[in-house]
C-alpha cells in the first residue's frame, strides 16, 4: 500500500519505477530535447495542482543526464526562499549556488576544476554571498554617535548583516552575478555541456502578474547567458486574460499539462493504478470508480486509492469494498465543497448542465486554481466529479 502515497517525494517514486512515463505522451522528452537543442530557450509547463508537473520535470532532468551532453539543474525554488517576497535576482542567485556546487563536485568536470580550484572556490563564495548575504565590518565615525558620550571619541567598527537575494529584500543590480555565472558556465562548456535549469515551484505564485514581475529581469539574463530554462507556472498563466498573453509571448513554448479524462477506452488512469499494483487492492469496478471520481487529477487518484485501502484496513477487512470508495469520495468532495458560496455553486451547476464556463472571469479562474473545476482542454471544463457528487441540488438559502 505504501506505493500509493500521494505525498511521497516524486524523485523517489520515479526511482522506484512507479511512474507511467508515457502518461503525457512523453512530454518530458519534448521539453528536455528542445532545451538541449536550443541553448537559451525558455519553456513553461503550465498545469493545475496535482497534475504531475514535478514528475515531468524530474523525468526531463533524468533524460538530459542520460544523454550526457547537458548539465541539468533541478531547483525547487519554493523550498529555498519565500516566494511571496521574491525579488529580481532570486532565480539567478539560486541558480548560481546550484551551478557552482555542481561544477565543483561533478566528476566529469574534476580535471578542469582541479586546475583552478582556488579561483572557482572564491567565485562560489561570491555567489553564496549574493544569495544569502554576508557580514561586513563598517567603520563608525564618532560624530555618528554624538548621543553617546561615554568613552573616548574615536572611530570603531560594527558588524552588519547585508541580506542576499534568497534572504530578501535588497535591490542590488542583477548584473553583479553575471561574471561569476559566466565563469562556472565556461567550465561546463569546456567539456561541451550546456546548462539547463529546471525551476519548479514557481506555479505556487498563483497570481501571474507577480510571476512575470519577478521573473522578467532574471529570464532576460538567462537568455543572454544561453542557459535553457524549463519552469512551471500556474493555470492562471494560461487562462488569466491579459497577463496570460504576455506570458505566452515571453516564452518560446508554453506546454499545458491538462487533466487526463477518465475514459475507460484509453485506460491511462487505470495504468497509473496498475503500475502501483492496484489490482492487488481494488476490484475492476472499484478501480474504475476511483478513476472516475479522481477527475483525472493524478494526486487525487493516488490519494483515493490509498484512502480506500486505509478505510478497509481500519475496519479490519482484507479487501476494499464499494462502500470504502464511496466514503473516501465523499470525504474528498466535502473538502472541495467547503467555503463555496451560493454564486459559486450556481456556476458549478450551470457548468454541469450547460457545459458553459467563462474562463476569463476572476471568480472562475479561482475555481480552476482550487481544482473545483478541471480543464480537459482549453475549451472543455468540468466540475470535479468528487465535488459534483456532494453538491446540494436544492437552491441554497441566502443569508
Amino acid at each position: 500500500m505504501q506505493s500509493f502515497n500521494p505525498t511521497a517525494p516524486a524523485r523517489g517514486v520515479i526511482e522506484a519505477g512507479l511512474v507511467c512515463e508515457d502518461l503525457h505522451r512523453f512530454l518530458f522528452r519534448h521539453l528536455a530535447a528542445r532545451a538541449d537543442l536550443e541553448p537559451g530557450s525558455q519553456q513553461l509547463l503550465v498545469g493545475g495542482v496535482g497534475s504531475g508537473k514535478t514528475t515531468e520535470l524530474l523525468l526531463g532532468e533524468r533524460w538530459l543526464r542520460e544523454q550526457g551532453h547537458a548539465l541539468p539543474l533541478y531547483i525547487d525554488i519554493s523550498a529555498e526562499t519565500d516566494l511571496s517576497s521574491l525579488n529580481s535576482g532570486s532565480l539567478l542567485a539560486s541558480f548560481g549556488v546550484h551551478l557552482g556546487w555542481s561544477v565543483l563536485n561533478d566528476p566529469a568536470l574534476r580535471p578542469l576544476v582541479n586546475e583552478k580550484t582556488e579561483k572557482l572556490k572564491e567565485t562560489y563564495s561570491k555567489v553564496t554571498e549574493y544569495a544569502y548575504g554576508k557580514q561586513v565590518k563598517r567603520r563608525v565615525d564618532p560624530l555618528e554617535n554624538l548621543g553617546v558620550v561615554y568613552g573616548a571619541l574615536q572611530s570603531h567598527f560594527v558588524t552588519e548583516e547585508l541580506p542576499g537575494k534568497l534572504k530578501p529584500v535588497l535591490a542590488r543590480d542583477i548584473r553583479e552575478i553575471r561574471q561569476p555565472l559566466e565563469e562556472f558556465l565556461s567550465v561546463a562548456r569546456e567539456v561541451n555541456r550546456d546548462v539547463v535549469v529546471i525551476f519548479d515551484g514557481l506555479d505556487r505564485l498563483l497570481d501571474p502578474t507577480k510571476f512575470l514581475s519577478v521573473a522578467n529581469q532574471d529570464l532576460r539574463l538567462f537568455r543572454e547567458l544561453k542557459v535553457s530554462i524549463l519552469a512551471t507556472a500556474p493555470l492562471s498563466a494560461l487562462f488569466g486574460a491579459e497577463v496570460g498573453q504576455s506570458i505566452s509571448d515571453h516564452f518560446d513554448r508554453v506546454h499545458h499539462l491538462s487533466v487526463i479524462a477518465a475514459d475507460p477506452r484509453n485506460g491511462s488512469l487505470r495504468s497509473v493504478l496498475e503500475k502501483r499494483r492496484g489490482s492487488e487492492l481494488l476490484s475492476e469496478q472499484d478501480a474504475d470508480s476511483i478513476c472516475h471520481y479522481s477527475g483525472g487529477v493524478l494526486r487525487d487518484l493516488i490519494s483515493l486509492a490509498r484512502d480506500a485501502a486505509e478505510e478497509a484496513y481500519v475496519s479490519d477487512r482484507d479487501s476494499i469494498t464499494a462502500a470504502d470508495v464511496e466514503k473516501v469520495v465523499h470525504q474528498l468532495g466535502t473538502g472541495y465543497l467547503r467555503g463555496l458560496g451560493p454564486e459559486a455553486i450556481k456556476t458549478l451547476l450551470n457548468l454541469e448542465s450547460s457545459k458553459s464556463f467563462q474562463v476569463d472571469q476572476a471568480a472562475n479562474v479561482e475555481l480552476l486554481l482550487t481544482r473545483r473545476v478541471l480543464e480537459y482542454s482549453s475549451t472543455d471544463f468540468r466540475v470535479h466529479p468528487a465535488l459534483l457528487s456532494v453538491i446540494p441540488r436544492t437552491e441554497p438559502k441566502r443569508a
Binding site: 500521494p6 517525494p9 505556487r204 470525504q331 466535502t334 472541495y336 482550487t370
Partner: protein, 195 residues
C-alpha cells in the same frame, strides 16, 4: 450539512503509521476543550508512531522559521496548529511555501472546523497533499465530559491502588512502565507531557 468523517485519535495515529512516512492529515478540533484534545492527540501519536511529537503554532510564522522547525528534525511528528489569526492571506502565504513543509515525518494540521474553507480556497497546494484525509476529532478520541474524566480517574485509582499524585511522581522520575493505562491516566491528569 455535509460533514467529514469522525475518527478517534487512535485511528488517526494508526492511519499515519500505515502510511509509513510523508503522511499529511488534517484534524478538526472540537469547539471546546481544545487544549486537552490536542494534548491527547499528541499522546496517541507518540504512543502509536513511537516518535517524539511537537506542536508548531501557525499564528505567526516566517519562511525561515517554519522551514527550520519542520526540517530540524524532519522525522518526528509535527502538529501544525492553526488559530483564528490564520486569515486567508496567511493561508496563501503558507501555501506558497508548501515545499518547505515537506518532510519524512507526519504533518498533522490541527484546525478549527471553519478553517477548512480557507484551506481549500486559499491553500490549494496544501489541500492537495491532504486530499481526503480531513477528519473530525471523534467522540472516542477522548473528548470526555468532566464527569466522565473524574469517573475514569477514580476507576484507575481503585484498580491500581495508586493515587494521582503518585502516578505523576513516578512518571517524573521515569519509573512508570509504558502501559496504555498509565498513558491514559497521565493524559486525563493533563500531564501528557510526561508520556
Amino acid at each position: 450539512m455535509l460533514d467529514f468523517e469522525s475518527q478517534p485519535f487512535v485511528e488517526i495515529a494508526r492511519r499515519l503509521e500505515m502510511r509509513g512516512g510523508h503522511g499529511w492529515i488534517a484534524v478538526l478540533s472540537p469547539p471546546s476543550s481544545r487544549a486537552l484534545a490536542l494534548d491527547e492527540l499528541q499522546t496517541e501519536l507518540r504512543s502509536i508512531l513511537q516518535v517524539p511529537t511537537r506542536v508548531v503554532p501557525l499564528d505567526t510564522f516566517t519562511f525561515e522559521g517554519l522551514r527550520e522547525a519542520l526540517q530540524q528534525p524532519n522525522d518526528d511528528a509535527v502538529v501544525l496548529s492553526a488559530g483564528a489569526e490564520l486569515t486567508p492571506e496567511k493561508w496563501s502565504r503558507l501555501d506558497i511555501m508548501r515545499s518547505a513543509l515537506e518532510r519524512i515525518g507526519p504533518v498533522i494540521f490541527w484546525l478549527a472546523p471553519n478553517d477548512v474553507a480557507n484551506l481549500t480556497g486559499s491553500a490549494p497546494n496544501i489541500r492537495s497533499l491532504i486530499g481526503a484525509s480531513i477528519f473530525i476529532a471523534g467522540p472516542d478520541g477522548g473528548i470526555m465530559t468532566e464527569e466522565e474524566r473524574r469517573e475514569r480517574l477514580k476507576e484507575l485509582v481503585q484498580y491500581f491502588g495508586l493515587s494521582n499524585e503518585e502516578i505523576v511522581r513516578r512518571a517524573e522520575s521515569k519509573e512508570l512502565p509504558p502501559e496504555p493505562e498509565f498513558v491514559e491516566w497521565l493524559v486525563l491528569l493533563g500531564r501528557g507531557d510526561l508520556v
